[in-house]
Structure formats: structure tokens, C-alpha cells
Symmetry: C2
Subunit: 262 residues, 2 copies
């Protein structure tokens, strides 16, 4: 991981899930699994997901740290009209900028609520100074971006729609991957994995024991941005494993972008 | 949240999910949703869930901070035999204690692997000095506890079985809860929620718009360790809401422990 982290090709991200309802188990977070899959497919390496309460200092601390450390930060939740919707206040504090009323957001809210615009609804137009609004697709309401922080709502359907609109901004270098399936146990494989990493340190190796199928005991994944490096690691690892136990391996010609990519 | 956090009755917890496979979206984390539901039922308030890579300094930093701040820390993942299983090393570094070979764990591994005990397998017996082993149920292998850190494996079935064995140690004061269902919009409710919180600050109020049913627009939850306080907040809030829009409310006699509790 540390090698991968210093890779110049790497784009990194952190995800901040905001909401007491997630921490109390009332609502299951389906947003971070979605974002993790999407960002991986985009070639963006997520290095941290954190779920925190609706609390301004906590939001400020997490957003400030993540913004400094990662290329992209994605937040989810805490952008509605009630007392526990504190995400914008937290982000403003993270960057030490004031909240200000955005005229475009205010106009959209006025149109939506017609004559019934409450002070609470109007709070949704108060965003950190410097907020960029991204519109597109069939979104009635824009996505707010503050520096490198993409502020998503907690409702999964809306988050997914808004993600499509900024997908092109959240782009890294695609990961290349090779998989090896074996009947050897993890304990018997460990030394070979370490020896491979010693010789090709830029590659990332994952080891996933299977509990659902007898077709293989362990799936190994090798991963890199560099096709040459990946093939070298693949060949070294195959030479170290017990060949009679290998039940499947991706062909070198199949070195592909991550699953789900065309 | 800040009031709740300083409540003397509160037991708090942090959850640390360790694994590149979760961050790359290959494996979806089902452990933290399980632990969040269980801990809430136990009356333990989880204030942070973080997912991090298989990286010793990162594990050490997260575990050290969480151990100091929360009553309980639960980790998941990174306890197998391969190069990326670094949880015990991270915890040892968090507390600045050495790893040492535990004789009980070593004997269990020797029995399990019979003549085929590899150095990699033996790594699983290397745990931080001061580790407590908890056995029980039908677990062949103990759960390791280091100070207030409960070290669970990443495999969901095993994590769930081990949780049952230490459930009685992870106990807080049960949360009491009342729910109110209304057809009012969140924007129309916000001021009433804030007014209620001003008068009964010890209660926690949640506001959950429904997108799945027309039976109500918003479910409000009031929550406290104190039944008297809870009923006071319930009565105040009901007096502030538009009664003709309230379509359901838990009876005072139904003030109960959190859902799922007997």
C-alpha cells in the first residue's frame, strides 16, 4: 500500500459518510459501497471511508484532513433542512470560510416551494463561500463542490444520479488486474506472495479465501497501473506456486482494465 | 450529539474495518452494519466507523485514537496468514508493545495444521503482549482482546459467532425511543424540532423522510436513556406539530428499549 500510495499515477479519494441514523443502525449505508465500486472502476484509489455523527467539529476535522490528503473527497448526508443537517457548516469550518446564501440555490428553492419557503428550507441555500455548482443530466438541483470536496445528499437514488454528472471529474488511471485461482491454502501461499512482492514491489496483491465454492480455495489478485510490471509479477508468482493446484489464471492477453470497464 | 456524548450513562464505541479488498469495492463490508445494529441494541453508542487499508502505521494511528476516545473498539479483518494481514502488528504499534508468540494459540495452530504448520500460519500466533483470549460457544479459535480493542476476523460468519461470545462485555444503557409519523414536510417540521431540542437538550431527535411509502412523509425519532425526559420531549413536540398531519405516534406506555430488545 505504501508503494502504491506514492505512485505518481495514482489518484486518491476519501469518503465521509455523515449521519447519526447510520451510526445507530437505523439506516444502512449503501452509498459508500456504491462509491467504492465506481471510483475503483474510474481508477481512483479510495484510502479511507469514515462514518461520523451530525456534529460540526467532527465534520470539519474529517473534511479538512481528507481534503489535504486526497485528490478527491466525497461526502454523503447532512444537507437537508433540519437541525441535524450540518454538513455545509462543517465544511465551511474545515476551510475557515463563511457560509453565504447562494443566489442560484435560493432562486431554485423559491421556485420549488412557491409561497411556502420556510426559513428552514432557505438554510439549504447557505453554502460555504467559494462553492461551485455543477448541473447536468436531469437534475433539478445542482451538486455542490467546495474545493476538492463533492457534497452528495444521503438519499441513495439522488446520490447515484448526481455521481453520473461529475463522474468525468473523478478520473484516475485505470487499474490493470490479473487473477489466479488455486486450491492451495493461504498458509501455503503466503511465502510465495511475499517473494513476488519483494521482486515487484509496485504491484498490489490480494488474497481472498473462498468459503462459498469448492472450485478454488483462494483467489489471488495482482493489480497495477503498469501492464509490463503486472505481467512480470504474474510470471514470478506462477513460477513459485504449486502448478498442480492452480485451477485458473487470467491469460496475459486478458490483462484488462478493472471489472466493469468496457 | 455533543450533549449525548457527555452523558455519563453513555458507553461509546468505534469500529475499524481493515482491508484493501473493501476499499477497492471487491468485497462489500457487511460487518459494520451488523455491529452497528447489535451495539445500538446493547445501548452502546458508536461514534465512528472507519475503513482503512492493510497498512501498519494507518492501523496503529486509528486504533490508538479510537482506544483513547471510546469505551470499546472493534476491529474487523487483517488477522490471517498472508502478507496483507497486519492488524496485530498495527495494534502492537498503537500501544507500543511487542508482538509475542502466544503459547495457547500456537498449540491450537499446531493441532489444526498437524505436520503442515508453515511459518506463515505460525504468524497467526504472534499477538500483542498483553492480549487476552476469550473462548466460548462452539469457537475452536479464541477471540483476541488487546486492552479495550476486540479483534474480529473479516469473515462475516466467524465475526458474528465471535460477537455472541463477547456480547455481555459490550454493554451500555439501553436507549429508549418514541416515534412520530407525519405527513408534514421536513422543511415545515424543522423549527418545531429545534424548539423541542432547546427545551429538552438531552434528547436526540432524528428526522427521516420516507421515499418508499405514502403512509407518512417523515418519521421522527426521539431517543434518550431517560424515560421522563423522553416523554417530556414527546409531549412538547406533539404540541408544536400540526396535529391534523400526524398519522401515527408511539404511546407513552410504549416507550421501550430499542427495537429488537426483549
Amino acid at each position: 500500500m505504501e508503494d502504491a500510495r506514492s505512485d505518481q499515477n495514482d489518484k486518491t479519494a476519501g469518503i465521509v459518510i455523515i449521519g447519526n441514523e447510520v451510526l445507530s443502525g437505523k439506516v444502512q449505508d449503501t452509498n459508500s459501497p456504491f462509491l467504492l465500486r465506481e471510483l475503483y472502476e474510474q481508477g481512483v484509489r479510495v484510502l479511507r471511508v469514515v462514518t461520523i455523527p451530525d456534529d460540526v467539529p467532527t465534520i470539519a476535522d474529517e473534511v479538512r484532513a481528507a481534503s489535504a490528503r486526497f485528490d478527491f473527497v466525497l461526502t454523503s448526508g447532512g444537507v437537508g433542512p433540519t437541525h441535524d443537517d450540518l454538513t455545509f457548516e462543517g465544511i465551511a469550518r474545515a476551510f475557515d470560510v463563511p457560509l453565504r446564501e447562494d443566489p442560484t440555490l435560493k432562486a431554485l428553492l423559491e421556485r420549488h416551494f412557491a409561497g411556502r419557503l420556510t426559513p428552514a428550507a432557505l438554510r439549504m441555500a447557505m453554502v460555504p463561500s467559494g462553492t461551485r455548482l455543477v448541473r447536468g443530466g436531469d437534475m433539478r438541483y445542482p451538486l455542490c463542490v467546495v474545493r476538492n470536496v463533492y457534497v452528495f445528499p444521503g438519499v441513495p437514488e439522488i446520490l447515484r444520479a448526481k455521481f453520473q454528472v461529475v463522474r468525468h471529474e473523478l478520473q484516475g488511471t485505470p487499474f490493470l488486474q490479473v487473477r489466479i485461482f488455486t486450491q492451495q491454502k493461504e498458509t501455503a501461499l503466503a511465502a510465495s506472495l511475499e517473494a513476488t512482492l519483494d521482486r515487484v514491489p509496485g504491484v498490489t496483491i490480494g488474497s481472498y479465501p473462498s468459503y462459498d465454492t469448492r472450485e478454488y480455495r483462494v483467489m489471488l489478485t495482482l493489480e497495477s497501473h503498469d501492464a509490463h510490471q503486472l505481467q512480470e509479477a504474474r510470471d514470478i508468482l506462477l513460477s513459485l506456486l504449486d502448478g498442480s493446484q492452480v485451477v485458473g489464471v487470467d491469460d496475459p492477453s486478458e490483462i484488462t482494465r478493472t471489472p466493469g470497464e468496457p
